[in-house]
């Protein structure tokens, strides 16, 4: 089987995998990083979103072999090593940006990517950026509010 090396949350992992292994499968089953959720497996929901070299992607629609050598950040790599939540995570907690929490890893990854590109997005920019992230619980209102708050804007 072919070998890949992927740097996940700052740590290098080398493994022999089948070429058809999805990045989401590699993260969840080989590395046991189950914070990356599979909501649909058909590219619709965004629960599986991670960053590859700093860029937001749906890990269920990327082959692990195709990101050989890349740096991947998952939800497990977002808080500080001592457990301090990132500003986006803290804002989701403060503003009730989650209910069941299933979509939350993908939402946090998308929001973190957005704020890296656009430090102070408008509400419309936040909603546009979240087009690929579905939430069945919250109605999005508090998610949008949390992201605006995380960017330091009054909500």
């Amino acid at each position: 089987m072919p070998e890949v090396t992927i740097h996940v949350n700052g740590q290098s992992h080398t493994a022999e995998i089948e070429a058809r292994t999805l990045l989401s499968t590699f993260l969840r089953e080989d590395l046991r990083l189950t914070g990356t959720h599979i909501g649909c497996d058909t590219s619709q929901c965004g629960a599986c979103a991670v960053h590859v070299d700093g860029v937001l992607v749906k890990s269920c629609a990327v082959l692990a072999m195709d990101v050989d050598g890349a740096a991947v950040t998952t939800i497990e790599g977002i808080a500080a090593p001592d457990g301090t939540l990132s500003p986006v995570q803290q804002a989701f907690k403060d503003h009730h940006g989650l209910q069941c929490g299933f979509c939350t890893p993908g939402m946090i990854m998308a929001a973190t990517a957005l704020l890296a590109e656009t430090a102070k997005p408008s509400e419309a920019q936040v909603r546009h950026y979240l087009e690929g992230n579905l939430c069945r619980c919250t109605g999005y209102h508090n998610i949008v509010k949390a992201i605006l708050a995380a960017s330091g804007q009054a909500v």
Partner: protein, 264 residues
């Protein structure tokens, strides 16, 4: 997914050599191909990734217009074409969602020729040329019906050449679940030579709407189109929209696109 091999060549020659295997398939952003593989609708022996080949990347402007590497992502194109061809850049920035735009590529989209994809309308309205290692194909000859193109076995798109119109706009009515175009219209005005291409609506895939082009050549004004709609019999009818609704939307989206092209 059925099992397959995977290679990621870093030059075009090696990619073409790997694609000589008739069972191999090119993999670009994978945003269409990976879901297809998951459904076991394809069983390639090998996937040949096109995303690490410098010749297939990037956007550059010349006297002939914009030359776009086939493996340029929607996100990259929306940035790189923003000044030279804003209508095309905006189209790219409205495809799917950010994660899809970070991986999906213009070459993958044009090779797939989904009847609801956005780029085919831009290519047809702009009079784009599809470049392959074997030849150059004019947009008119390239699109041959739903999911069908002039590409032969083993032939890949390497570059897309887009002439730049004087003014243009793309307006889509998004299908809310898939975010593809339920109906999308690209209007391009080349100094009075107006081209209107419609995606999402035609039963034969992307098409030029000749009647609207003639009306707009008389006067580039949304009013010029007021009673027009394409024939219902030629529209797609499915659970998302009936044929008469699509025909109606083509008229509305075309008027909006003309207005957007005028106001910039």
């Amino acid at each position: 997914m059925y099992a397959f091999d995977f290679v990621k060549p870093t030059d075009l020659k090696s990619a073409l050599a790997a694609l000589e295997d008739p069972e191999a398939l090119p993999l670009s952003g994978g945003q269409t191909l990976i879901p297809t593989l998951k459904q076991r609708l394809a069983s390639p022996s090998c996937l040949v990734s096109l995303t690490a080949i410098p010749e297939l990347q990037g956007v550059c402007q010349s006297a002939e217009g914009l030359s776009i590497g086939a493996a340029t992502t929607h996100a990259e194109l929306s940035r790189a074409a923003a000044a030279a061809y804003p209508a095309l850049a905006r189209l790219a920035g409205q495809i799917g969602d950010p994660a899809v735009r970070h991986r999906g590529t213009i070459g993958g989209s044009l090779a797939n020729n989904d009847p609801s994809a956005c780029y085919p309308s831009a290519a047809l309205a702009s009079g784009a040329v599809m470049v392959t290692p074997r030849r150059e194909i004019a947009a008119e000859d390239y699109f041959q019906g739903m999911f069908t193109t002039a590409l032969e076995e083993g032939e890949i798109l390497t570059m897309l050449r887009f002439p730049i119109p004087t003014r243009a706009a793309y307006v889509k009515f998004a299908q809310p679940a898939s975010r593809f175009a339920l109906v999308g219209v690209f209007v391009a005005d080349f100094e009075g030579d107006v081209r209107v291409a419609v995606t999402g609506a035609g039963a034969e895939g992307v098409f030029r709407w000749a009647e609207a082009e003639a009306a707009l050549a008389e006067g580039f004004d949304p009013q010029a189109l007021t009673p027009l709609a394409p024939p219902e019999q030629e529209m797609i009818a499915d659970l998302h929209a009936s044929a008469d609704y699509r025909a109606h939307l083509v008229g509305v989206m075309t008027r909006r696109a003309v207005l957007a092209a005028i106001t910039g």
